[in-house]
């Protein structure tokens, strides 16, 4: 199939970002480009969802849902923004949709399998537990990993997504704001408050995470 005629802006965007170039090929009906795009992004998305939802199999399902939405929206794709921001927006929407469904299930008394924050494990509890069990020995990496995961799970949904986009996707304030459909000051506020909560939970282990 012949590719669509691309504008100079599209060609510039494709040259600047490999994912954008792949997505433009997907838009033109190139199935091989879609496979490359999946290979390029699935680990990143599963990582994001794994820490956002706290469950690996759910993360894989959500990543597949993102790719499905990407494919369905391929014809309307315009590289006005970075592909990274576009796919983060889709990922955030997918996560929000799942949360909405989970909340509705909870209202109807059905069990839900979202994050620790949704299941009632608060940062305060984690912090109390951590302060009461301050390790006299140096905690091993697995133990710290578990504590950090619990701390992340204790954040609010939007706080957690903002932190994960910043940490794992190296997104700027602006990119996070665009992906989450928030203002930049709102994102800054989210991250600032997340820092306070994480500091409270992780203070006993401070300085050990990077060792």
């Amino acid at each position: 199939m012949l590719p669509m005629k691309r504008s100079s802006a599209e060609m510039t965007a494709a040259a600047a970002d490999p994912s954008t170039a792949l997505m433009l090929r997907v838009r033109d009906g190139d199935a091989e480009a879609f496979e490359e795009l999946v290979s390029l992004w699935q680990d990143r998305l599963v990582t994001l969802f794994r820490h956002h939802m706290g469950d690996h199999s759910t993360a894989e399902d959500l990543a597949q849902e993102v790719f499905l939405r990407v494919y369905r929206a391929r014809e309307s794709y315009r590289p006005t923004a970075k592909f990274t921001t576009w796919i983060h927006t889709i990922a955030n929407n997918v996560a929000s949709d799942l949360r909405q469904r989970s909340y509705r299930r909870r209202e109807h008394g059905l069990p839900m399998s979202v994050s620790a924050s949704s299941s009632g494990i608060g940062l305060e509890q984690i912090a109390v537990a951590a302060s009461g069990q301050r390790p006299s020995r140096q905690a091993d990496r697995g133990e710290i990993q578990d504590v950090v995961q619990r701390a992340i799970a204790g954040l609010g949904d939007n706080q957690r997504m903002a932190v994960l986009l910043a940490k794992f996707e190296q997104c700027s304030y602006e990119e996070i704001a665009e992906a989450m459909q928030l203002s930049v000051p709102a994102v800054k506020s989210l991250l600032f408050r997340a820092r306070d909560q994480l500091r409270a939970a992780l203070e006993p282990y401070a300085g050990e995470g990077s060792t």
Partner: protein, 181 residues
Amino acid sequence: MTGADSSLPDPDADAARSPAEALGPAWEMLDVLPRAETPPSMTASTIAMVAASAAGPLGSSDPRNRPAAGQRISMIHWALPAAAVIGALVGGLILGRMTAPTPEPRVWTVPSDRADVRSEIMERIERLERLEERDKTQQRERIEQWRRREQQRRDQPREPVSPSQPENGRPSPAENRAAPR
């Protein structure tokens, strides 16, 4: 969105130039979180799932692969007369077969065994005819011989007939009565 998420930005948060600065010491601790490594089979399963959800192979739902509206109209414009012509041809063929008389089946070949039987029968018939002809000839000859003998007998001179003997050689009734039984 929680209430904290939608709160106004803190002046201290504004001072942070990047998310890393905003998160402070927690930023480095997040490094312990593992990054997912999906199996290669997940790519295939994702492609299969997307293909199935898109109801067909990738690319098939692309409207650019389908003919344009003008092309579709043009195809319909030609397809209808073509279908009518084909229908008329098929109908005529069926009608012709129904109305035409069934031709006599032609014998293109005679089975070899029948030909042998037929020739043998013909030979026998000829033989019988020859025999009949020969019999007729012989019968005519015998009849002819008998006629000649009869003629010769007639031509022979007659002996004198006795008075008591009738001319036809039969005894007279008086003689018949005197004869012993």
